[in-house]
Symmetry: none
Subunit: 401 residues, 2 copies
C-alpha cells in the first residue's frame, strides 16, 4: 500500500488545526567567519521555544544528495512522493507565471534561440534577451489558431516563454524540439504515441509560423520547445487528509502548486506580515494552513547571508501572533536548503520543527541545523512531515486492529 493510500484510509476530520510554515530554502551552511548557518545566526526566540517544547529533526525532500527544485520540495512537504508525482516542465513553467491551465491544455516550455542561415542553432538562449523584448516577441506568436486549436504564448523571464496548446484532442506525449546543443537544427515535434499526432502536427505548424514571424528578429529568430505536459492529476489534500486546506503564498509558483493539491488560495499581500495577518483573518475557516515565505530562498540564491538571516528573524517575530492562536500543530521547515554560501538550492537536509502537546520531548532547545541533528524526529523523508503533523493533531486513527 502506498503511503498516501494508507493515510487516506486512516485520516479523519476533526476540529484540530495544523499550520505549516515553509521558509523557502531554509537550510543553510555556516558562514566561514562565524561558523554559524543563517538559521543559527538569526535571533529566534519563538522558534527556539517551539523547538524546546516540540520535536525537531532533519528532512530529505527527495533523497540524500538530491537537490530539489521548488516543485518536488513542496510536493514532498504536502506528502506526495516527488518521484511518483512528477509535474511536466511545461506545466511548471505555466504555474510559475500564474497562467491558469485548463484541463486538457498541453503546455510547453519555450526558449527563444538563434539559428544561422542554414537553420543550425548558434545560441540556445538568443543571447538571453531582455524580458521586455521577449514579451514583445510573445505577442507576435500569441493567439494563433491552428487546426482549430488555439496557441497561447506568454513570456516568463529573459528568453523563456510558455506555449499552451488548447483544443479538442491535444495530447502531451511528444518529444522536445530542443536538441540541447548548438550546431544542429531544432528537431521537429515528434509524437511518442499515435494519440499525440494531432498535437505534433499543430506544434510543428506553430514552430514553422514562429520561424517566419521571427525571421527578422535576430538574435531571437527561432524557438525551441520542450517539456510538453498536461496538468497532472493529484489526489487532493481533502481526499487524502480530510483537511480543509488553505494556502497563503504570494508567488505564482507556490499558489499553483497548492492549487494542484486542492488547497484554497487566500488573497494576501507580499510581506511576511501580510501573510501572517491573512492567516489570522482566516483562522476560523480552515483546519490546515500552508504559509509560504519566499524571501529565504531569494536571499540564499543571491548569496545574501545577512538578508536570509533577516527573513528568518521576521518569521520569528510574526510567530508571536500565530502562537497566540494556539494551533494544535505548528510545523516550521523549508522545501529545501539554499545556503547563501552556495548561491543556489542544495542537497543538504532541511531543519524541521514540529510543535504539539503530544510530542515526546527531545533535548533540542533551539531551532538550528546542528541542534536538529540530534532531535527526536531523527532524519526523515520530507513526505513523512504531513503524516507526523496529522498524527500530532490526532487526525489519524489506528492502522489495523
Amino acid at each position: 500500500m502506498a503511503n498516501l493510500e494508507l493515510i487516506k484510509s486512516i485520516s479523519s476530520s476533526s476540529l484540530s488545526k495544523i499550520v505549516l510554515v515553509v521558509i523557502d530554502g531554509l537550510g543553510g551552511l555556516p558562514n566561514p567567519e562565524t561558523r554559524k548557518t543563517e538559521l543559527e545566526t538569526a535571533k529566534t526566540p519563538n522558534l527556539d521555544r517551539l523547538a524546546a517544547e516540540g520535536i525537531c529533526g532533519l528532512s530529505d525532500p527527495v533523497g540524500p544528495g538530491i537537490t530539489p527544485g521548488s516543485a518536488p520540495g513542496h510536493l514532498a512537504l504536502f506528502g506526495y512522493d516527488p518521484l511518483t508525482f512528477s509535474i511536466g516542465r511545461g506545466v511548471l513553467e505555466a504555474i510559475g507565471i500564474g497562467f491558469e491551465l485548463q484541463p486538457g491544455d498541453v503546455a510547453a516550455r519555450g526558449n527563444f534561440c538563434t539559428v544561422d542561415k542554414a537553420g543550425l542553432i548558434t545560441d540556445r538562449r538568443a543571447g538571453r534577451i531582455a524580458t521586455d523584448k521577449s514579451a514583445e516577441l510573445c505577442q507576435l506568436l500569441d493567439g494563433l489558431v491552428i487546426d482549430e486549436a488555439e496557441v497561447l504564448v506568454r513570456p516568463v523571464k529573459e528568453h523563456r516563454f510558455v506555449a499552451v496548446f488548447r483544443g479538442e484532442g491535444v495530447q502531451a506525449d511528444a518529444a522536445d524540439t530542443d536538441p540541447q546543443r548548438v550546431g544542429v537544427a531544432p528537431k521537429p515535434v515528434v509524437a511518442l504515441s499515435p494519440d499525440t499526432n494531432r498535437l505534433a502536427s499543430i506544434a510543428n505548424q506553430f514552430v514553422a509560423k514562429a520561424r517566419l514571424a521571427l525571421a527578422e528578429c535576430h538574435p531571437a529568430n527561432m524557438i525551441l520547445l520542450r517539456g510538453f505536459s498536461k496538468l497532472p492529476h493529484l489526489p487532493s489534500m481533502g481526499e487524502i487528509y480530510k483537511l480543509k486546506a488553505a494556502a497563503i503564498a504570494s508567488y505564482p509558483m507556490y499558489r499553483g502548486l497548492a492549487k494542484l493539491v486542492g488547497m484554497q488560495l487566500l488573497d494576501t499581500g507580499p510581506s511576511i506580515e501580510n501573510e501572517f495577518a491573512t492567516l489570522k483573518q482566516n483562522y476560523s475557516s480552515y483546519d490546515f494552513f500552508f504559509l509560504h515565505v519566499k524571501g529565504g530562498d531569494a536571499a540564499g540564491e543571491d548569496g545574501d547571508f545577512a538578508r536570509k538571516v533577516s527573513v528568518i528573524e521576521q518569521v520569528d517575530s510574526a510567530l508571536t501572533e500565530l502562537i497566540r492562536l494556539k494551533p494544535d500543530v505548528i510545523v516550521v521547515t523549508g522545501d529545501h536548503s539554499t545556503p547563501a554560501m552556495l548561491k543556489g538550492h542544495s542537497w543538504h537536509p532541511v531543519p524541521v520543527l514540529l510543535y504539539s502537546k503530544w510530542c515526546r520531548p527531545d533535548k533540542v532547545t533551539e531551532f538550528s541545523e546542528s541542534a536538529c541533528l540530534s532531535g527526536g524526529l531523527g532524519r526523515v523523508p520530507a513526505t513523512e512531515v504531513m503524516p507526523l503533523a496529522m498524527a500530532n493533531a490526532l487526525k489519524l486513527t489506528k492502522f489495523g486492529a
Copy 2:
C-alpha cells in the same frame, strides 16, 4: 529482493538462542509533573545493564506518524512488513478470541445492531449490549447449516461477534454489509468476484435468518458483517529464519498471531512470572522465544501510569533469571507505544534494546525513550529488529561474495 527473501537466502540454523521480549505498548510520554515516561520512571536495573552492554534505538512499527494496531505491530517485529502482509478484520477478530480457524474458513466481524420498522439502522452497535447478552444471541445464530456450509457464531465483546462460514468453495472477496452510518438499511453481501457468489448467497441467507431470529430482541434486532477474510498465507519463521520458534503469550490475539507465522504455542499462566517460568522450562527445546507481556498496553489504555511502571518493573525483575540462562541475543521492545497520557496506542517510536556479545557499544547506559534517541541502533523500521537479532546470533551468512 524483498527483505524476507534476502533473509531467507542467508539464514542458517545454529545452536545460538534468541529471546524476544515484547512489552506490549512499551513506548510512553512523560508525566507532566515528573517529565519522565513510564519506562524512565520504572526502576529497571536489569534493563539498564543490558542497555549499557548492548545497543539501543527506536523503531517505527509501520511508519512515522502511523499508530499501529496489535497485529501490524507484532507482524513488523516478527519481520513481516505489515503493509504487505495484512490480516483481514474477520480473521483478526477470530484470532483475538482464540477461535481455531481452519484453512478455507471465511471469517467476518459482526455487530449486533438496531433497525427500525422500515429496516433502517438506528444504532450500529445495538446500544453496546452487554457481552453476556451478546453471547446468548450468538447461541441463537450459531450452528446453522446453509447450502451445506456451516455458520459458526462466537461472541467477542459487547455488540461484537465473529461469524465463520465453513464449507466447500467459500471465498472471502465480498463487500461489507455495514454501511458505517445510520438511517440506511444494511447492504446485502455482494460478491466482488464470481468465485465469491457462493459465499455471498450463504451469507445473505444467514443475515435473513438472523433478522428473523432476532426480530423480538430489540435493541439487538439485526446484524452487520464486515471484513470477510481467510487466514492469510505467511511464510513461517522456520522457513525464513530456520528457527525453531516458540511463543509464550497468554492472550488469544498474540497466540494467534504467533501461530500464523508458524511458532509453537507453549502453555503458560497469566502472570509475567508464569511466562518467564515457561521460558525457562522450555529453554532447551527451541532456539527462538517470543515472550509477550500484555500488561503494559492494558495499563496504558487505562491511563494508569503507575501500573504501567509496575509492569515494566516486574519484567525487569523476571529478567534476572532469563539473563542467567545466557541467551545469545536478548531483545526487549514493544509492538507500539501506548502512553498512559493518551490512553491508547500511539504513533511514537518504540524503544528497542538488543543485547548480545557482538554489539558495537553505544553510550546508552539506561533503557529509556530519551536514551534510545541517541542509541547505536538509530531509528529503524521494526521489521529490521529480527534481521538484527539474527545477525547478532550469528545466524546470517554473508550476502554476496
